[in-house]
Amino acid sequence: MASEPTTPTHIPQVYRSRGIVTRGLMYLILTLGAIVAVFPFIWMLLTASKTYGEHSQRKFWPVGLTAAPYANRPATQTIIVPLHSPTNDWHGAASSFSPHVEGSIPVQAVTPFVEELLRAKETSVPFNVLILALDSTNDEVQNYDRFILTMGSRIVEQFSTRIDLKEWGGPNYEGSARGRWGPHFEVIEAHPDHLVIKQGWNMLYMFFGNYFSAWKQANFAQYTRNSIITTTLTIAGVVITGTLAAYAFARMNFPAKGLLFTAYLATYMIPWTVVMIPNYLIIIALEDFFKQTFGIPNAWYNNWTALTIPFMVNTFTVFLLRQFFAQIPDDLFDAALIDGCGHLRFLTQIVLPMSKAPLMSVVIFNGIWAWNSLQWPLIVTSTPNWRPITVGLSGFITEAGAETQLIMAGSVITTIPILVLYFFTQKQFTEGIATTGLKG
């Protein structure tokens, strides 16, 4: 290392500026470190944009992030599709159930990307997308639940796609490359003997296809809702119990204060592994009690109560806030007291507005812990009703199996709320950690 400690400085700086080699080396190390730190995120985002095939072929850059699929999109058009009995043109497609009606959608033009893929399959436009089977549980077409489409006379790809009137459907757009970049169909009107279909190009699906699929397949909407609710409730609980307890410890006098504080300290040392099993049994006991006494099933098990209430107190939060509350000058309280202000009013109207910074730390950290929890929700929930997003994602990993691109999309969905929170509160975040030295 070539160092030149000759330049005199007056800025309080630990090491003086170094030689160019040393500086270069330092930036090199920092850059390498940053690449390692960030690469998994880049990989996650790239993979989430890939198709199944691209990931299998170890392609690094997904075509979805290039202009190719979006360039020269043919115009959107409305097509009337006559439906008739399933007598002709099955072309060897499997029909495991008896269809009621069938039709075909003529496709005049596709994106250049699909055109190339079709050429590889020795097909070209124009071709027909066949509605091989339209299975309706009811005689009304609106209530059909299956729509099987296939391209051309030879089956390029066969997928079942559920299409509702308001929804975009396309030949296999959910699964493979061809469909995702090909035309999408929307049923505008449904008649017993014909469908009016709008053929267009849904940019959102082209770009975010995997996110939509993951969102639908793993029921992420439900999981996200659950996570948001349980996290918010936990934070609210922690803030309420924490500020009250911290205020009592910091600013009030009462018998057995030292004893209680020691008890709080002691709980901080209790490892979760030890209390996990009894807590599970306590939840089960509470569940039974509520069922037998009040006749409410699932009051605890499989409910938000078990997920939030045990975590609505956090001794760390109490210590952090107590530290801050204790620094508030006594004069302020005495002045308030003369004005006839009680403890509760002093706390809510003077102390809390002054404590925005520590409260922010409390909210951020408890938010992250609550959002991150996996083991406990795994134990106390068995249905998706209240399962948080972490459990949903870990289940989805097994469910989606080889469809890594969907797992990555799910991971992005799970991470984004926390990342958004982080970027907005980045400063409090790192400062909060640096000053408090939080648990790992």
């Binding site: 700086q13 170094r18 009250l244 030292g258 991470t415 790192t430």
Partner: protein, 401 residues
């Protein structure tokens, strides 16, 4: 705490004033009211469960409570009572020897020689007791437990030192006149912030043997398809694999952690380096700059500054991170669970079965609540003794300025 006691004695002296006294009582009642919700939750979900766990661990408890077993669950894990006596007694003697030795160096008295002799004896007997008891304990106890403790030990050893060295290096670089400090900090901190389940899922795919980016890069670098490491699916020890690669025969006892565990270790390092860096930065900020100035005037080199000022003065931070790192690896659950999800717990072949995963396995898959509770207490005991040893070792080495 001292201010509290002062104020309390102060008030009782003035308690003669009735109005004042009434106000004190009101305040005390209000304080209890304020403390009530938090304390209630702590009691129900933290304090009581400790006693309850002890109660559970002394019963045969498979979903429903069975008959009373006293310490049988513990003995099932740790072997014969005599083994436990030997091992715990031996450890106690070693600890006592250490304490006695310390007390001598602290205050040299006329009893010095006798105490020194006693310490040596204790050391001797403690060592002997361990030598006698430990092999028996390994033989009579629960093999899974000892295997998992070894795995946890490998996991800690692979993770914590590297994590601390890397973050110390990064923090030292970041502490200098570097452009874009905030940017670097944000980037390094990203892994810690991410939802562990999501980043562990990403980790899985990065280290996927057939389609992951690591093996893609390796095959681009010219590694034959058949020789690509199997990462998470590799149960063989990492030393064995390195030996194979170098063409050296490695005995099985020196196999080391499995490659699957190494993937988890790498994940852990990746996650916590940024967090440790931020804490180190705070530690470095507390080192008074005058010290460096003075040392530099005395002609200290860059290396000497680091060795004799920075490292000793940030030792409290290092100690804190060491503690947190070790305890963290002993507690780790989420990412191990996710990285091996879809397979049996401890996949492959139980080589990623750390003690916390083993406890979960007994609890959740085996429904052996009693035994799992006993294991949890044993793990806590191990963690506590590690903390104690660390505390003792750090005495005199950690400099609280």
């Amino acid at each position: 705490m001292s201010t509290i006691d002062q104020s309390m004695t102060h008030t009782s002296r003035h308690g003669l004033f009735a109005g004042y006294r009434g106000r004190r009582i009101r305040e005390a009642l209000q304080a209890y009211l304020f403390l009530f919700p938090g304390t209630l939750l702590l009691i129900v979900f933290n304090l009581l469960p400790v006693g309850y766990a002890l109660y559970i661990s002394m019963h045969k408890w498979r979903i429903q409570k069975g008959h009373f077993l006293a310490f049988e669950n513990y003995l099932k894990a740790l072997g014969e009572p005599i083994d436990v006596v030997w091992v715990v007694g031996g450890m106690g003697l070693l600890a006592a020897a250490w304490m006695v030795w310390r007390s001598i160096t602290a205050g040299t008295s006329s009893w010095g020689f006798l105490l020194r002799a006693a310490a040596v004896l204790m050391l001797l007997f403690g060592g002997l007791a361990l030598i006698v008891g430990f092999p028996n304990m390994l033989e009579n106890g629960d093999d899974d437990l000892f295997k998992s403790l070894l795995t946890t030990f490998f996991y800690s050893l692979g993770t914590v030192p590297l994590q601390i060295v890397l973050s110390f290096l990064l923090a030292n670089i970041l502490f200098q006149n570097i452009r874009g400090k905030t940017m670097w900090r944000i980037l390094y901190f990203l892994p810690y912030v991410t939802v562990a389940v999501a980043s562990a899922a990403v980790w899985r795919t990065i280290f996927d043997p057939s389609r992951g980016v690591i093996n893609t890069l390796l095959s681009l670098a010219g590694v034959a398809e058949g020789n690509l490491p199997k990462w998470v699916f590799e149960a063989r020890g990492v030393n064995l694999l390195i030996g194979e690669w170098l063409g050296i025969e490695i005995p099985t006892w020196a196999a080391g952690p499995s490659l699957a565990l190494v993937v988890i270790i790498l994940y852990n390092i990746w996650t916590y380096v940024g967090y440790n860096t931020v804490i180190y930065l705070a530690g470095l900020g507390n080192v008074p700059t005058e010290m460096y100035e003075a040392a530099r005037i005395d002609g200290a080199s860059q290396w000497e500054l680091l060795r004799h000022i920075t490292i000793p003065l940030v030792s409290p931070t290092t100690y804190f991170l060491l503690m947190m790192g070790i305890l963290g690896t002993f507690r780790a659950f989420n990412h191990i669970y996710v990285i091996t999800t879809g397979y049996t717990l401890g996949f492959p072949q139980g080589t990623t079965m750390t003690t916390s995963i083993l406890i979960f396995k007994h609890f959740w898959e085996g429904h052996r609540f009693g035994y799992a509770s006993a294991l949890a207490f044993i793990l806590t005991g191990v963690m506590l003794s590690l903390t104690w040893v660390q505390n003792r070792l750090s005495e005199g080495r950690v400099f609280y300025g």
